[in-house]
Structures are given as structure tokens and as C-alpha cells.
């Protein structure tokens, strides 16, 4: 009960934290602040004494306890080597670190990191600390914090918290929190309880898709009690059935997500290569430029990664489109109708662009921050959650595709592009400026590659090699889908993505890739013009 009381008092106390921060320090200079001893105790604790030191801080009921433990969990507690004072590190980058007094919150200015000795924390302690903090948060009046805390309690229940948890369960709780806590308690009971508690726990856990629940049941199957093992086994089998559906849905999602990345990377190429017939080996580097634009934008707008990302969409398009125009004007226009030379020249450009980025920016990858609203996942159920960044990319790919279709089908530019690619001489004699159309088309394709780069910056690393990783895949998708057909690119990208993800768990990543390539080779043998071949006279050109 001791810990419960202190937890409750902490809850009340946490409400007072704000007041405390404003008010003068509670302890006069002459009186020894008990926090000092608590922190020194934590800093001195050997790994074995850590539990007791953390418990002492929780039990003290000190309103600042939460902030101390947070700082400890985040690796921010350090000891001044000279004075022995425990301090909180506010900024730990560079040679001089900003520190503050954990007792008063007073900023103590900068200190050389040589003077600081970190209070050690490792995974095991952090895991326990997360449990302790989650237990505190369960009493929060903020339903969001309470829910997260209940989530974190899974697998963290031990004999010290079981009683307060049961008391909490006797109270009125939001359904989601109650559900989680019941599961968490059941997992503990299945591991530690008596025979009856174990049987009850299995009933609770039956049907749960949570991985911790499965882990506990798996352990019970391997346990000594044959009756418990048998019912745990039955529970597992029923769970396994449900999981199958979820796994299938997950694979489909993975496939669509990989497919949408492929579509994004390839759709620009579908225009420059597919429609114009230019083999542009620098396509990958145009993607890279888009990704670097995102990085640059985030550097310009520090602290606002979301806004920077949204602004990067037009900016990435423009940067890549301008680079595309430069490439078209300086090289490609002189190589019209000479595919081999175009291939070699653009390959050279791709190497130049890569090395340019390496020399001017850095050979190292750049860190692009994922905005808050794009990280984490959309939880459907315990076994199925859709990662948000990829969900956005799927949506973005579809929007870009729809936009391109509109441009090609409904605008003057689209009409002219189609006219020029079908019959250049005829189009020119009808008064269409073929050279202008060439520039615009190439700019459009390049700009779309830039858009792909903006999206990819949220999935993979932004570095000089980014483009290389996508160029082969892009050509693969365009050829498979049928050169000159945007729908083909969409279908081909999604198909290849899904096939790859279906094969991968079964054959391994390396073999899956090889199998997809072999499949495409065989397919092209049968249908040289891809999934959706162009028909009619246009196809002959």
C-alpha cells in the first residue's frame, strides 16, 4: 500500500508542479533539500541498487520526482566531477553543455562536457523506469496520457504494482484503458498466479492479438501444468486463426506501400522515357535533388518539419524541373534519336550530380526529420497497424498520378505532348512548337521525380546514393507496365510491389528480388511491349 499512497500523493502533487515552478524554492538555504540526497543516492547506485533508488524517489512524494525520473530516463542526469552536484543536462550537443539545477530548475549555464559524469542508465533500468512512469501516468486526468500509460503497462506488471492496479480496475475507467489493464494483469497472472488465476487469465487472453499476450500464452504452453498448457494451446490456436487474416491484410498493405514508392519513382520516367523516348539515367539523381530540397527546406525552417515538408512539395518540383530543363537544353536536345549516346551522356550527368552533392553538401547522409503527424502508425488492432509515413506516401502517389493524368488528358500541354510524340513532323506542321513541348515535357517528368524525392525523404536516407537505388526499379516498372502508358506504370508498380512483399517473407529479400527480375524477363519475352502495349499507328514509331 505504501507505493499506492505515494503514487496518489504524486498525482495530487503533479498538479502543483506548475505552482511550484512559479513559487520560490520550498526549502530555505539553511534547510537541506531532501531531493539532493535522493538524487545523490540515484547517482551513486550500483545497477543492483537502482531499483531501490528509483523507488525511494517515487515514494518520497516529491512533486519534482517525475521530472527527475524523466531526465534520468532520457540520459540527462549527470554529476559535476568537481562538486559532486547532480545536474540536469538541457543541451548535450557540442563541447559545452547547458545544465540546470534539478532542485530549483535554475539554469546553471554552460559547462565543458569533460566536467560531467553521466548517471548511467541502460535498457534494463529504462524498461523498469518506463513501468514506474506509466504507473504514475495511469492516475493522470488526461485521457490521452492515461491511455498511453495503459498501453505501456503491457508486460510491465510486477508484484509491486499488482495491488494498486487491481484497485484502479475496481474504479470507473475508460473502456480502452480498462481493456488494456485487464490484459496486462492477465499476462502477469498467467506467469505468476495460482492455478485458478492462470485459468482465468487464459480466458481473458483468448482472442487477444497483442504480441505480449501471445508470448505469455506461448510460455504457458511450455509450462509444467498440463491442464493450463492445453487450454493455453487452444487459446493460441484460435488467436493464430485470427492472425492469418491480419497477416494477409498486412502483406497487402506492405505491397501497396512498396508499390506506391515504385510508382512515384517511375512515373516521372514514364513521361521522359515512356512518352518522349529519352533514356534518362540521371532520373534517380533528379529524385535525389527533390529529397535534398526537403532537407534544405527543413534547414531553412528549423523546428517546423511539417511546414517545411509541405513547402518542399512545390519547391522540390521546381528544383528538379529546372535541373531537368538544364539537362535537356545542354545535352539531350543534341542527342535526339540516338538512344545509346543519350544513355551514356545522362549516365555521366548522374555521376556528376552525385559527386557534386558529395563535394558541395557532404558525403554523409543528411537527417530529414519526420513531422509528428507522419510518425508512428494507425492502429487497426493489436496485430495490424499501418505505418503513417507510408500511408501518406500511398496517398501522395495516387494524387500525383491523378494530377499527371489530368495534365496529359485535359490540358493543352497534354494534347501537344501527345501530338508531338505521335508524329513530330505532323504536329509541327500544325503549328505546335515541338522544341517547347520537349522542354515542357522533360521539365514535367523531372519535376515529378523531384516530388518522388520529397516523399522518399520520409522513408529512406537522404544521401548522394539515393538515386542509384531507384533507377533500375524505375526502368523495370516502366518497361513492365508498357512504355508510354501511365496506367501501365501504376498497375505495374503496385503489382511488382505486392509480388515482392508476398515473396519476401517466404524467399528472403535477396531471392525475392531475383525472382521478380526473372519473372519480368519471362514476361517481356512473351509480351515485349509490357502489360499495356500501345496500339495503333503510334506504336509503330
Amino acid at each position: 500500500m505504501g507505493i499506492l499512497r505515494s503514487l496518489l500523493s504524486l498525482r495530487l502533487a503533479s498538479l502543483l508542479v506548475l505552482l511550484m515552478a512559479i513559487a520560490a524554492p520550498a526549502f530555505s538555504q539553511t534547510e537541506e533539500d531532501p531531493g539532493q540526497a535522493l538524487l545523490a543516492n540515484l547517482a551513486d547506485a550500483s545497477p543492483r541498487q537502482m531499483d531501490a533508488a528509483i523507488e525511494a524517489i517515487v515514494n518520497s512524494g516529491d512533486p519534482r520526482a517525475r521530472s527527475w525520473l524523466d531526465a534520468f530516463g532520457n540520459n540527462r542526469l549527470s554529476r559535476n566531477k568537481d562538486t559532486g552536484q547532480v545536474v540536469v543536462v538541457l543541451r548535450n550537443v557540442g563541447r559545452d553543455w547547458t545544465i540546470a539545477d534539478p532542485l530549483t530548475g535554475e539554469n546553471l549555464g554552460e559547462i565543458s562536457r569533460r566536467e560531467l559524469d553521466r548517471v548511467n542508465i541502460n535498457n534494463a533500468i529504462r524498461g523498469k523506469l518506463e513501468g514506474v512512469l506509466a504507473m504514475l501516468d495511469l492516475y493522470s486526468t488526461n485521457p490521452e496520457i492515461q491511455r498511453t500509460a495503459a498501453e505501456a503497462m503491457m508486460g510491465k506488471v510486477n508484484e509491486t504494482v499488482i495491488e494498486p492496479l487491481n484497485n484502479l480496475l475496481a474504479q470507473d475507467l475508460p473502456a480502452r484503458v480498462r481493456d488494456r489493464l485487464e490484459l496486462a494483469v492477465a499476462i502477469y497472472q498467467l506467469e505468476q498466479g495460482d492455478a485458478q488465476a492462470k485459468a482465468d487469465a487464459i480466458t481473458t487472453l483468448t482472442g487477444s492479438l497483442h504480441s505480449r499476450a501471445r508470448a505469455a500464452l506461448n510460455n504457458a504452453v511450455a509450462g509444467d501444468d498440463p491442464a493450463i498448457a492445453a487450454s493455453a494451446k487452444a487459446a493460441l490456436i484460435s488467436i493464430e486463426q485470427k492472425l492469418k487474416m491480419n497477416r494477409a491484410a498486412e502483406t497487402l498493405y506492405f505491397g501497396l506501400s512498396l508499390g506506391s514508392v515504385l510508382v512515384l519513382a517511375a512515373i516521372g520516367l514514364a513521361i521522359t522515357f515512356g512518352v518522349m523516348g529519352v533514356i534518362n539515367m540521371a532520373h534517380g539523381e533528379l529524385i535525389m535533388l527533390g529529397a535534398y530540397t526537403t532537407w534544405g527546406m527543413q534547414q531553412l525552417l528549423p523546428g517546423q518539419p511539417g511546414l517545411a515538408l509541405i513547402l518542399s512539395i512545390p519547391a522540390g518540383f521546381m528544383v528538379a524541373a529546372l535541373a531537368g530543363i538544364a539537362i535537356e537544353r545542354s545535352v539531350i536536345q543534341y542527342l535526339k534519336g540516338r538512344p545509346l549516346e543519350t544513355l551514356l551522356a545522362t549516365f555521366g550527368i548522374s555521376l556528376i550530380l552525385q559527386q557534386l552533392v558529395r563535394t558541395v553538401i557532404s558525403p554523409l547522409n543528411r537527417s530529414v526529420t519526420t513531422p509528428e503527424w507522419m510518425s508512428g502508425s494507425l492502429v487497426i488492432n493489436d496485430a495490424l497497424s499501418l505505418t503513417l509515413n507510408r500511408l501518406y506516401v500511398i496517398g501522395f502517389a495516387l494524387v500525383v498520378f491523378a494530377g499527371l493524368m489530368l495534365i496529359m488528358r485535359r490540358t493543352r500541354l497534354g494534347l501537344e505532348v501527345r501530338a508531338v510524340t505521335q508524329n513530330r513532323a505532323m504536329a509541327r506542321s500544325m503549328g505546335i512548337k515541338a522544341t517547347r513541348v520537349d522542354i515542357m515535357t522533360f521539365a514535367l517528368g523531372s519535376g515529378v521525380a523531384g516530388l518522388a524525392g520529397v516523399a522518399l525523404s520520409q522513408i529512406t536516407n537522404v544521401g548522394p546514393n539515393l538515386g542509384q537505388n531507384y533507377i533500375i526499379d524505375s526502368f523495370m516498372v516502366v518497361v513492365f507496365g508498357g512504355v508510354g502508358n501511365l496506367w501501365g506504370t501504376l498497375v505495374a508498380g503496385l503489382t511488382l510491389g505486392t509480388i515482392n512483399q508476398i515473396l519476401e517473407p517466404w524467399a528472403g529479400a535477396v531471392l525475392a528480388k531475383i525472382m521478380v527480375l526473372v519473372m519480368i524477363i519471362l514476361f517481356i519475352q512473351k509480351r515485349p511491349r509490357g502489360l499495356f502495349p500501345q496500339k495503333g499507328r503510334a506504336a509503330e514509331g
Binding site: G94, R95, S211, N219, F254, L364, S367, T370, N465
Partner: protein, 436 residues
């Protein structure tokens, strides 16, 4: 096209120090630097080239070695494996360098091996590798598997209670050999076949969805699970991102990586990675004055406040100091004399210990386990009580169990079979045979 430059760093020091004038007038000691400055490996190797230039500059400020200045000869093998061999030949034959510091990947080292053996050069190789090699002309200042992989697995097993293992790696020689060693080691310790999952991915793999999902499923079998990652280079960023997005935290399934250092982390938002592990012989965060001095010098040399140091840089620091000590000891830069003098040479490392060159051309190193922090640094959570000597031939591979390397007279052999009592082909001949 290669970028080649001759850096005469000695000149400034020469002007300053009149007393050394007479001796410094001798020919400089030529130090070849064979690291890719362009292509895919430039991401890792550029910093090593800079480290060497800094070390040479510092040494020259102190008057060089034996009164002779040092001169860096930089070539760019452009991440192209055959070009490594050509550039090594150019360094040794045309530039007549006294020693080469270079290479990152094992395949590039294997490509250079026949050349340095044929032309009797000296090569210091600074990166952790899969072992199974000891050449008369190569000094391995990075970690062998027993100085990184095995201690890391011991830490996971003993301190974190891990019973189920995912061995995930990029599909090439280093991860494959390391995982083979680890698999045998784990099985020797009684881990069941079903508790080991091995997964290989291609270079630069960027779509980790289904693999991370597999790892998640593998980890829900009830036993504590950990991932031992030999995933190389760029593929790590999307891998860690996917882990974070699928909600796998370090307290659920910790990942211990052998190829992720400070430099790799500088390209990632490390928030979601806090608590994942890496095993190295050096971390930038090591609390030691020698280390702080090195970092300060590096930051000053780079002119970048955010410049980071990493394990292979420390390896070059050790290797360079060992070479300098050997030259002092031998009183000459003659290759045969250095080979003899350097065995047993001991220099301080940056973590507060001493590195000694062993007769098998590997060095003694402490093994550190660090946890990723939110500032892109590692905090050391565990280290070996003393240094560990590098083992050229693993005890956990059937073919290499009976082999030992000892380059002292009278044995002078890199792969002496203690059962048959015979010495096998040299590492360079082996590399040539494998290539065919």
C-alpha cells in the same frame, strides 16, 4: 579519373623549427592514403583520409619521426574494388610510399592484398572485419569477430537475458562469416535451431516492412529476443525508421549493431532509436582526456563544430602511432625492419587503455557496448574488464579452428595448421585463388 594531391604538410613545421633543419632535409617519410573519396564508400572513407592528414600534420608539428618529416600521398580508388589494387600499385611502385593506410570493405582489402604482398609494402587496415586472414604485410587495427561480435552476444545473453536471436545482415562476406561464427557459438551454448533466425538483405535495401514485421512475430514467442545486426551502410536508416514506426522499442527487442557508429547516426533522427545498442572498441562519448583532446583536435582540423569521431578513426590513430613507434624503434622505414620491430609495440588508445601489436598482426582492444542516445551519441553501458587480443582465425568455424598466425621468426606464417604442422598459402595467394 583520380584526384591526386601531394600534401607537403611538413613545410610549415620545417620553417618553425630550425633545430631540426639539418635532419629534416632528408627525404620525407611517404605515407600513402588509400581511401575512396568518391563513389558509394566516400560516405565512410572520406573521414579516414582526413584523420590521416590530421595525424600527419600533428606528427610534423612535433618534428616528424627520427628527424624526418612525413608526407601524405592521397589517391582516390573511387569505391571501385579493382581500382584499389591499381592505386595500391601506383602508391608502391610509382610514389614509393613507405606505408599505406587504407581500405574499408573487405573486398577492397582482398583486392589490394596480392599487390602489397608482391611489392612487399605495409598496409594498415582500420575497420572491423570478419577475420579469417593474416597477411605478413597487413596490420589489422580494426576488430576481429572475437573483439566485437562475440562479446556483444555475451552481453545480450548475460545482462539482458536474451534467448532468441535474429541475425540480420547485408548479403556479403563480412555479415555471412560473422553470422556463421555467431551461429556456431550460439549453438555451442545450447541455443536451439528454432531460436535463431537468419536474414540477409541486398546492399542499400530500403523496404524493411515485411522483415521488421517478421522480426516482430519472431519476438512474440515468449522468450526475450534481440537482433544482432551486421546491416551495412545506408540500409540502416530505413531499417531503424521502420522499427520505430512499427513500434518496436529497445526495451522490447533491442538491436545490437556492428556497423552503426556516430557517423551513421549523424544522418538519422535518433529519437526513436534511444536504447538500441552498438558494439565497438571506441565511442566518441568515452569519458577520457586523451579522447577529448583527440575530438578537440578533430573539430579544429575539420573546422566543423559538429564533426564526429568514430571507431575506424581511432583504429587509424592507433595504427599511425604504432607505425611511428616502430620507425623510432627500428631507426629506419625499411619494410623488413618495421615488420620485425612493430610486433609488441604498445601505444595508448583513446579509451584509456593500451593497444599492443600482437604476433598475428592484430591488436589488443577493449570491447565496449553503447546505447544510442537522443543526441546521436552512444553511452557506454558495459565494457570488458581488460583488453582482448584479436584472433585472426575464429575458434567457431570448422576450417579455421586449428589455424594460428605468428609472424615472428621462426614460424613466420599467417595460417599455420597446428594439427598438420604445415603453413598454408599466403593471404594474397588465397585472395587471388578465391577471385578466380
Amino acid at each position: 579519373m583520380s584526384i591526386k594531391k601531394h600534401v607537403k604538410l611538413g613545410l610549415s613545421a620545417l620553417a618553425l623549427s630550425v633545430s631540426f633543419h639539418a635532419m629534416a632535409a632528408e627525404d620525407p617519410i611517404k605515407v600513402g592514403i588509400l581511401h575512396s573519396l568518391s563513389g558509394t564508400m566516400a560516405i565512410s572513407e572520406t573521414a579516414l583520409k582526413d584523420t590521416m592528414e590530421m595525424l600527419i600534420e600533428k606528427q610534423n608539428e612535433q618534428g616528424g619521426v627520427n628527424g624526418r618529416m612525413l608526407e601524405a600521398v592521397v589517391v582516390d580508388p573511387a569505391s571501385n574494388w579493382p581500382l584499389f589494387a591499381e592505386k595500391a600499385r601506383e602508391l608502391l611502385e610509382k610514389e614509393k610510399v613507405d606505408v599505406i593506410f587504407g581500405n574499408w570493405t573487405s573486398v577492397s582489402r582482398k583486392s589490394v592484398l596480392p599487390v602489397v604482398e608482391e611489392l612487399n609494402g605495409l598496409l594498415f587496415y582500420p575497420v572491423q572485419y570478419e577475420g579469417e586472414e593474416s597477411s605478413e604485410n597487413v596490420f589489422y587495427t580494426g576488430a576481429a569477430p572475437n573483439q566485437q561480435a562475440i562479446p556483444a552476444v555475451n552481453y545480450l545473453k548475460d545482462e539482458l537475458g536474451v534467448e532468441r536471436w535474429v541475425l540480420a545482415g547485408t548479403d556479403y562476406v563480412y555479415p555471412r562469416t560473422t553470422n556463421k561464427i555467431l551461429e556456431t557459438y550460439l549453438k555451442d551454448m545450447g541455443v536451439a535451431e528454432a531460436d535463431i533466425m537468419i536474414n540477409y538483405t541486398p546492399f542499400g535495401h530500403s523496404d524493411w516492412q515485411s522483415i521488421v514485421s517478421d522480426i516482430k512475430a519472431f519476438g512474440s514467442a515468449g522468450k526475450k529476443t534481440a537482433v544482432v545486426s551486421t546491416i551495412n551502410g545506408d540500409a540502416n536508416v530505413p531499417f531503424y525508421r521502420e522499427l520505430g514506426n512499427q513500434g518496436i522499442s529497445s526495451s522490447d527487442i533491442p538491436v545490437v549493431a556492428f556497423s552503426v557508429g556516430e557517423q551513421e547516426l549523424s544522418g538519422i533522427d535518433t529519437g526513436p532509436l534511444v536504447g538500441h545498442l552498438a558494439a565497438w572498441n571506441y565511442f566518441m562519448s568515452v569519458d577520457n582526456d586523451a579522447n577529448y583532446d583527440f575530438i578537440d583536435a578533430w573539430v579544429e582540423f575539420k573546422g566543423d563544430d559538429k564533426a564526429v569521431t568514430n571507431d575506424p578513426m581511432e583504429a587509424h590513430y592507433i595504427g599511425f602511432n604504432m607505425y611511428v613507434e616502430a620507425v623510432k624503434k627500428a631507426g629506419t622505414t625499411d619494410v623488413e625492419a618495421i615488420k620485425e620491430a612493430i610486433i609488441g609495440v604498445a601505444v595508448p588508445n583513446l579509451t584509456g587503455g593500451i593497444a599492443t601489436m600482437m604476433p598475428n598482426h592484430h591488436i589488443t582492444k577493449p570491447v565496449l557496448i553503447g546505447e544510442i542516445q537522443d543526441n546521436g551519441q552512444f553511452s557506454v553501458v558495459w565494457e570488458t574488464s581488460s583488453t582482448v587480443a584479436g584472433d585472426a582465425w575464429s575458434d567457431f568455424l570448422p576450417g579455421s579452428r586449428d589455424l594460428i598466425a605468428d609472424w615472428r621468426a621462426p614460424m613466420k606464417c599467417g595460417n599455420f595448421n597446428v594439427k598438420t604442422g604445415s603453413c598454408g598459402a599466403s593471404a594474397g595467394e588465397q585472395a587471388l585463388a578465391d577471385a578466380e
